[in-house]
Symmetry: C2
C-alpha cells in the first residue's frame, strides 16, 4: 500500500508538470495584443532569456566543479564512508543526484520565467475583455512556475526513493536513498542561491538605476519606454520574483522533505514501521500538491473581479483541502500498521502518526500566521506603515529611522510563531515533529509560488498596457490586478521566510543526527566560536549584497545618463533607447557580484567545520539560522512598509505626489528596495545552502580529527599536556604575536596622528 | 602579602577619588570667562542638574523596589540558599551591597557630570591663553569622571572583599564575598541602564529636534543661542557622553572583576592558592588605575598643541605602564606561592599566573585592536567613510544604503578580535582566562572614560566660545580641541563595546558555574528557544530606543516651532528663547521612554528562566551577547561613519555645505545619531544588566522545578508518559487551538479583503 501511495505521489508530480504544460498551452493561445505591446513584451522576453543564458553558462561551471568534488572527495554511505578518490571508488550516485537536482531546478526556473514573460502582454490584452479574463491569464501563467517547482521536486525526491529503496526498504537502503536525495537537494539549492542573489541584484540594479535617473533627474513616469532601464526593470521583476522566489521555495521545499526523511530513517527505528515514516513527508507533499492544484482550478470560480480576494481564497482553500487530504493519508498509513506488532506497539505507532499530523497542521497554520504578521507590518491601512508615512513629513532621516525601528520590531511576532511551532511540534514528536511542521508549512508551496509569480506578470502587464496605449480604463483595471499582486506578495514573502526557517531547523537536526553529535554545548569555547561566526554571517552577507546593488546601480545610472546625453532623440521619443546595454549591465553585474556571497555560503561552513569540528559547525548553523531570521524578517518588512507608505502617499494622502513628504517616502522606498528584494529574501537561500553544505560535507569533516576539527579539543585543554615545553612555546609565540601587534598599532597610530596633525595645521 | 596588596588596591581607589577632587579644585579655580559665557554655561549646568534630579528621583523608586526584592526573595549563600521571606531570614548583605553599588554609581555620575558642565566655560576661556591651557582644563575636567568611576569601583569591590573575606579566606567566605560583590555590581548596572538609555534618548531628542527645526527650517547655525533647543543639545552631550558612557564603563568594569572573582573561587580550587586568584582581578584593576593616573599626569608633558595625539599617546602610555605593572604584580603573587606545596604543584601554580598574565595582555591588546577597527570604519580619510560621502552624491537613499552596508561589514573584524581573544585566553586558562582577558581589557578604563568625557566638554566649550563672542581665532582653536575629542571618541566607543562583550562572556561563564549548569545543549529545544529569544532581544531593544528618540524629537520639534511662532523676537535675537521648556521635554521624555527598555532587560531574562529553566537562560544570554555584539558594532560604526562623512563634506569636499550632496549627508548623520548615541551603545548595558539579572536571580530560578523551569523537561519528552489520556488531552487542546486560530485568520482576512474591495471600488 505504501508503494502504491508512493506511486501515486510520483504520478502526481508528473500530473503537475503536465498541468504546467497545459496552462502554458492555454496561455500561449491567447491574443498578444497590438504591435506595440508585442514589441515591448519581446524586449522583456529577450532580456529574460539573455539573463538565463549568461547565468546558466556560469552555473554550468559551478555545477561541474561541485559535481567533481562530490564525485571524488565526499565519503558517504555509498562509498562505505571512505574518501572516494582515496578508496578507488566514486560517490557517483550522490553526484548524479546533485546534477539532476541542479538540472531540475534550472528546468523549473526556465519554464516559469519564459512562460511568465510571454504571459504579460496576453494578460494585458485579456484585461480589455474584462478584469476576470486578465486575471485568469496572469494567474495561469504564474501557476506554471508553481506547478513546475512542485512537480520537479516530487518527481526527483519520489523517484530517487523509488529507485534506491522502493523494493527493499531496509535500514541500509533507506539511508542510501536519503543520502542521494540530499545530493538532489544540494543541487536545487546551489541553483537557488544563484537565481535568488543574482535575480535580486539584477532586479534592484535596474529598478534603482531607472528610478534615480529616469524619475528623479528627468521626471519620466514609471515604465516610460523612453527610459533605457525600463525593460531591464521589467525583466528584473520576473527574474527576481518568478525565477528567484520559485527556486528559493523549491530549495526550502526539497530541504524540508529531505530533512524529515533523514530524521525518519533513524529516530523512528523503535516504532518498527520505519519505511512508512520516511515516505510520509513525500506523501504529504503530494497531498499538498493536489490541494494546490484543486485550489488553482477553483480560483476560476471565485469572482475574478476581486483579484486580491481570489488569491487569498485560493490559499485558504488549498490549506483546508490539504489539512483534509493529510488526514486521509495519515488514516491510510495507520490502517497499514502491521498487525504482527504487539498491541502497545500498534498504539504507539498510531499515536505517532496522529501526533505528526498535528505537527503538520501546526506548521501550516504558523506559516499563515507569519504571513499575516508580514501583512500587518506592511499594509498601508495598519499602524506601522501609516506611522512611517507620517514620519515622512518630518523628512528623509525620520522616515528611515521609523522604518528601521518598525522593521526590527516586526521580528518579534514571527519569532514567537516559529518558537511555538517548533516547541509544540517537538513536544509532539521530537525532532521528527519539527521536520513534519516544516513539511506542513511548505506543503502548499505550489499555491504560494503561483501567487508570487502572478505579481511580476501583472506588474509587467500594467506597463505593457500603458506603453501599448490601451487607454486609461484598461490601465486602471490592470492597476487593480497589480495591487492584488502586491497584497499577495507580502504574505508569501513572510511565508517563505518562516518556511525556510523551519526547514533549516529540521536540516540542522538531521545534520546533527547524521553526524552523530550528541550535544552542541555552548559552554565549549569551540562551539561558542562557531555560534559567533554563525551570527555574524547573515550580517556580512546582507552587507555584501547591498553594496553589490549599490555598485551596480551606479553603473546603470552612468549608462542611462550617457544615453540621454549622447542621443537627445531618446527623450523626445523619436529614437528608441538602447535597452540591450542596460540589460547587459544588469546581467553581468548580477553575475559578477554574486560570486563572493556564493563563495561565502559554501566556504565559511567548511572553514568552521575543518577548524572547529562538526559540533561547532552545528552551532554555526544554529547561530546563522537565528540571526538570519532576524535580518530576513527585518529587511523584508522594513522594505515592504517603506514601499507601501510611499504608495499610500502617492494615492494622494499627506499632500500626494511631488511634495517633500513624497520625496522623503521615495528615499525610504529606495533604501527598502535592496532590503526587501535582494538581501532579505536571499538570506533564506543562504541558510539552506549552508545547512546542506554541512550535511553533504559531513562525511569528510568527520574524518578530520574524528570530527573535532584541526583545532582539536586537546588544544583547548592544554593543561592536560604534561610537557611544560609545549607551554613555553605557546607562551612565547603568543607573547611575540602580542608584542608585534602592539608595535604595529603604535606605529600605525603614530603615523596616522602625524598625518592628522598636518591636516589640522594646513587649515 | 596578599592582604598588603589588597590594602594598596583599596588605598589606590581612595587616591583616585582624591585625585578626582584635586582636579575638580584645579579646574574650579580657573577663570569662567565673560558674562555671556557664564550665562550660557549656567543654563547648561541648570539643565544637567535638573536631568539628574528627575532621573535620580525615579531611580530612587526603582532602587527601592529592587532592594526589597533582593532583601526578601533572593536566596543566596547568605540565606543558606533559602528564599529569605519564607525562611524567616533576610538577604541583607547582598541587598545592602546593591544599594551601595547604586549609590556609588550615582555619586560618580553626579560628580563627573557636574564638574563636566562647570569645566566647559573655563576651558573656553583657557583657549584664549593658548590651546594647551584649554586642553589641560578640559582634559582635567574629563578626568574627574574617569577617576571617580574607577575609584568607586575599586573601593566598593575591594572593600566588600576586605570586610567579608579579608581575614578569613576560606572557601565559604570567598563565596560569600563574591555574592555580595555581585549585588554591588547589579546596583551599578541598574544605574548604568538608566543613565545610558536615558542619556542617549535625551541627547538625541535635543540634537535631532534642534537640527530638524533650527538648521533645516530656519537656517540657524549650529549652537546658535536663538535656537530654543541649543542648551538642551549641549546638556545632552554631557548627559550622554559623560554620565552615560561613564556609568556604562563602570558597569562593564565591575562586572568583569566580579565575573573573574566568581570564576576564581571554584575553578582554581585544585591549585591550592585560591584566595590569591580571587583577588588577582582586583589587584590588576588597581594596577590599571595607577597606570591611568600616571598616563593622565604625563599627558601634560605631551605637547598640548597636538590634542588628538596627546589623548592617544595617553592611552598608549597607560597601556604600556599597565602591562609592566601587571607583570610586577604577577611576579609578586608567584613569589608568594606557599613553599609547602609540592614541586609540581608550584610549577602548575607558577604557570597559571603567567598564563593569566598573557590573557590580560591579550585582552588589553584586543581592546585596542577593536578600537582601531572602529576608528578605521569611521575615519574620514579611510575608504568606508569616503565611499559613504561619495554615495551622498547619488542622493539620500544611497548614502543610507552604503552606511548601512559598511556598518554591517564593520562587524567582521571586531568579531574576529573577540574570537581570537576569547579562544586564546581560554586555551591559556579556561574560563578564568577569558575573565582575565576581560579584566585586562577594562584595566585602563580610567583613561578611556577620561578621554571620552573630554569630548562633550570641548564640544560645549566651542559653543560657549561662539556664544561668548571670543572671536574667530579662538573658535578655530576650540574647533581643533573638539575634533581631537571626536577622534578619541571613535576609539573609546569600539573599546567600550569590545570590553562589555568580553565582560558579559565572563559573566555568562560565571553564571553557568554558579548555577551548576554542566552543558548548554543547543539540541535541547528549550535551550534553542532561549537562544532564539536572546538573539531577538537586542533587535527589539534597538527598535524601542529608536522609536523613543523619534517620538520625543517630534515633541521637541513642535515646541521649537511654537516658540518661534508665538514670539518672533526670539529669531531676531531680542527675546531669549525658553530653554527650560525644551529641557523639560528632553528630560521627561527620556524618563518616560526608558521604562519599557528597562523593564525588558530585567523581565525577559526572568521569563526565560522561569519558563524554560537556567540552561535555557544561559543560552538566552549567549544569543543576546552574540546578536547584541553585531547590532552594537553595526549601529555605532554606521552612525560614526555617517557623521564623519557629513563633516568631511562640510569641510568643503564634494561641493561643501548647502549642496544636495550635503543634504543627503545630513540625512545620513541624522539617521546615525540615535544609532551611534542611543541604541548602539545602550546594548552594552542591556547585556550586562541581563547577565547580572540572571546571576542575581539564579538562586530563585534554580528553585523552580530544580532549575528546569515551569515547562519541565518531562513536558518535552511526553512520549515517556505512560498514560495515553494525557496525550489525548494535549492533542485535543492543540487541535482546538489550531482550529480557533484558523477560523480567526479566515474571518480576519475575509473582513480585510472586503474592506479592501470597497476601497478599490471607491476609486
Amino acid at each position: 500500500m505504501a508503494n502504491i501511495l508512493l506511486l501515486i505521489a510520483l504520478i502526481t508530480g508528473v500530473i503537475s508538470i503536465l498541468a504546467a504544460i497545459y496552462f502554458t498551452v492555454i496561455v500561449m493561445r491567447k491574443d498578444r495584443g497590438n504591435e506595440k505591446m508585442i514589441e515591448v513584451s519581446g524586449y522583456i522576453e529577450t532580456g529574460a532569456k539573455s539573463f538565463l543564458k549568461v547565468q546558466y553558462l556560469v552555473l554550468g561551471i559551478f555545477i561541474l566543479v561541485l559535481f567533481l568534488v562530490i564525485l571524488l572527495f565526499l565519503p558517504s554511505a555509498m562509498t562505505g564512508h571512505e574518501v572516494p578518490v582515496l578508496a578507488g571508488t566514486l560517490n557517483w550516485q550522490q553526484a548524479v543526484a546533485y546534477l539532476v537536482g541542479s538540472l531540475a531546478s534550472m528546468f523549473a526556473g526556465w519554464l516559469g520565467l519564459i512562460v511568465g514573460v510571454k504571459t504579460n502582454t496576453r494578460a494585458a490584452q485579456g484585461v480589455t475583455k474584462g478584469i476576470k479574463e486578465g486575471f485568469d491569464i496572469a494567474f495561469f501563467g504564474g501557476s506554471v512556475m508553481g506547478l513546475a517547482v512542485v512537480g520537479v521536486a516530487l518527481i526527483g525526491v519520489g523517484g530517487i526513493y523509488w529507485i534506491f529503496a522502493g523494493n527493499n526498504p531496509d535500514a541500509e537502503a533507506l539511508q542510501f536513498a536519503t543520502q542521494i536525495v540530499l545530493g538532489f537537494s544540494f543541487g536545487a539549492s546551489g541553483i537557488a542561491l544563484f537565481m535568488k542573489c543574482g535575480g535580486g541584484i539584477y532586479t534592484k540594479t535596474a529598478d534603482v538605476g531607472a528610478d534615480l535617473v529616469g524619475k528623479a533627474e528627468y521626471d519620466l513616469p514609471e515604465d516610460d519606454v523612453r527610459n533605457p532601464a525600463t525593460i531591464a526593470d521589467n525583466v528584473g521583476d520576473n527574474v527576481g520574483d518568478i525565477a528567484g522566489m520559485g527556486s528559493d521555495l523549491l530549495d526550502s521545499y526539497v530541504a524540508s522533505i529531505v530533512a524529515a526523511m533523514i530524521l525518519g530513517t533513524t529516530v523512528l527505528a523503535a516504532a518498527g514501521v520505519r519505511p512508512d515514516f520516511v515516505i510520509l513527508p513525500i506523501l504529504l507533499s503530494a497531498a499538498g500538491l493536489i490541494a494546490s492544484l484543486i485550489g488553482i482550478f477553483l480560483i476560476k470560480y471565485f469572482g475574478g473581479d476581486n483579484p486580491g480576494k481570489s488569491l487569498n481564497m485560493g490559499t485558504y482553500i488549498s490549506t483546508a483541502i490539504f489539512a483534509g487530504l493529510a488526514a486521509v493519508i495519515v488514516a491510510i498509513m495507520v490502517s497499514q500498521i502491521p498487525e504482527s506488532l504487539t498491541g502497545s506497539e500498534i498504539k504507539v505507532a498510531t499515536w505517532k502518526y496522529w501526533k505528526d499530523y498535528i505537527a503538520v497542521v501546526l506548521g501550516l497554520l504558523s506559516g499563515v500566521v507569519i504571513g499575516w504578521t508580514s501583512d500587518y507590518y506592511t499594509r498601508e491601512d495598519k499602524k506601522p506603515t501609516r506611522e512611517i508615512a507620517h514620519s515622512a513629513e518630518e523628512g528623509h532621516a525620520v522616515v528611515i529611522l521609523s522604518g528601521f525601528a518598525y522593521g526590527l520590531q516586526s521580528v518579534v511576532l514571527p519569532a514567537v510563531g516559529i518558537i511555538v511551532a517548533m516547541s509544540v511540534s517537538f513536544i509532539l514528536d521530537g525532532v521528527f515533529g519539527v521536520a513534519m511542521a516544516a513539511v506542513g508549512m511548505l506543503a502548499i508551496v505550489g499555491t504560494i509560488v503561483s501567487n508570487d509569480a502572478y505579481g511580476p506578470i501583472v506588474d509587467n502587464s500594467r506597463a505593457i498596457a500603458e506603453q501599448g496605449g490601451l487607454g486609461e480604463d484598461i490601465i486602471r483595471k490592470a492597476d487593480a490586478l497589480d495591487s492584488a499582486g502586491n497584497t499577495a506578495k507580502a504574505i508569501t514573502k513572510g511565508f517563505a521566510i518562516g518556511a525556510a526557517n523551519l526547514a533549516v531547523l529540521a536540516l540542522l537536526f538531521s545534520f546533527v543526527q547524521e553526524a552523530g553529535i550528541a550535544v552542541i554545548d555552548l559552554l565549549n569555547v569551540k562551539v561558542l566560536i562557531g555560534a559567533f561566526v554563525g551570527v555574524v554571517v547573515p550580517a556580512l552577507f546582507s552587507a555584501l549584497l547591498i553594496l553589490s546593488v549599490q555598485r551596480n546601480a551606479a553603473k546603470m545610472v552612468l549608462e542611462i545618463r550617457r544615453q540621454f546625453e549622447e542621443e537627445p532623440g531618446i527623450l523626445e521619443g523619436k529614437v528608441p533607447a538602447d535597452f540591450n546595454r542596460t540589460i547587459e549591465i544588469a546581467t553581468k553585474g548580477a553575475l559578477r557580484e554574486l560570486v563572493l556571497p556564493s563563495v561565502i555560503s559554501i566556504v565559511i561552513p567548511l572553514i568552521v567545520g575543518i577548524f572547529f569540528g562538526v559540533a561547532a559547525l552545528g552551532a554555526f548553523l544554529a547561530g546563522a539560522i537565528l540571526s538570519g531570521f532576524v535580518f530576513a524578517i527585518f529587511m523584508s518588512n522594513a522594505g515592504g512598509s517603506w514601499d507601501n507608505a510611499k504608495k499610500w502617499i502617492e494615492d494622494g494622502n499627506l499632500g500626494g505626489k511631488g511634495t517633500d513628504t513624497h520625496h522623503a517616502a521615495i528615499t525610504g522606498d529606495t533604501v527598502g528596495d535592496p532590503f526587501k528584494d535582494t538581501a532579505g529574501p536571499s538570506i533564506n537561500t543562504l541558510l539552506v545552502v549552508m545547512s546542506l553544505t554541512a550535511s553533504i560535507f559531513m562525511g569528510l569533516l568527520s574524518k578530520i580529527n574524528s570530527g573535532e576539527g584541526v583545532l582539536s579539543d586537546t588544544l583547548f585543554k592544554l593543561e592536560g599536556i604534561a610537557n611544560e615545553w609545549v607551554w613555553l612555546v605557546v607562551v612565547i609565540l603568543v607573547g611575540a604575536a602580542a608584542l608585534g601587534i602592539c608595535i604595529w598599532i603604535v606605529v600605525k597610530f603614530a603615523r596616522n596622528s602625524k598625518v592628522m596633525q598636518k591636516l589640522l595645521k594646513k587649515e
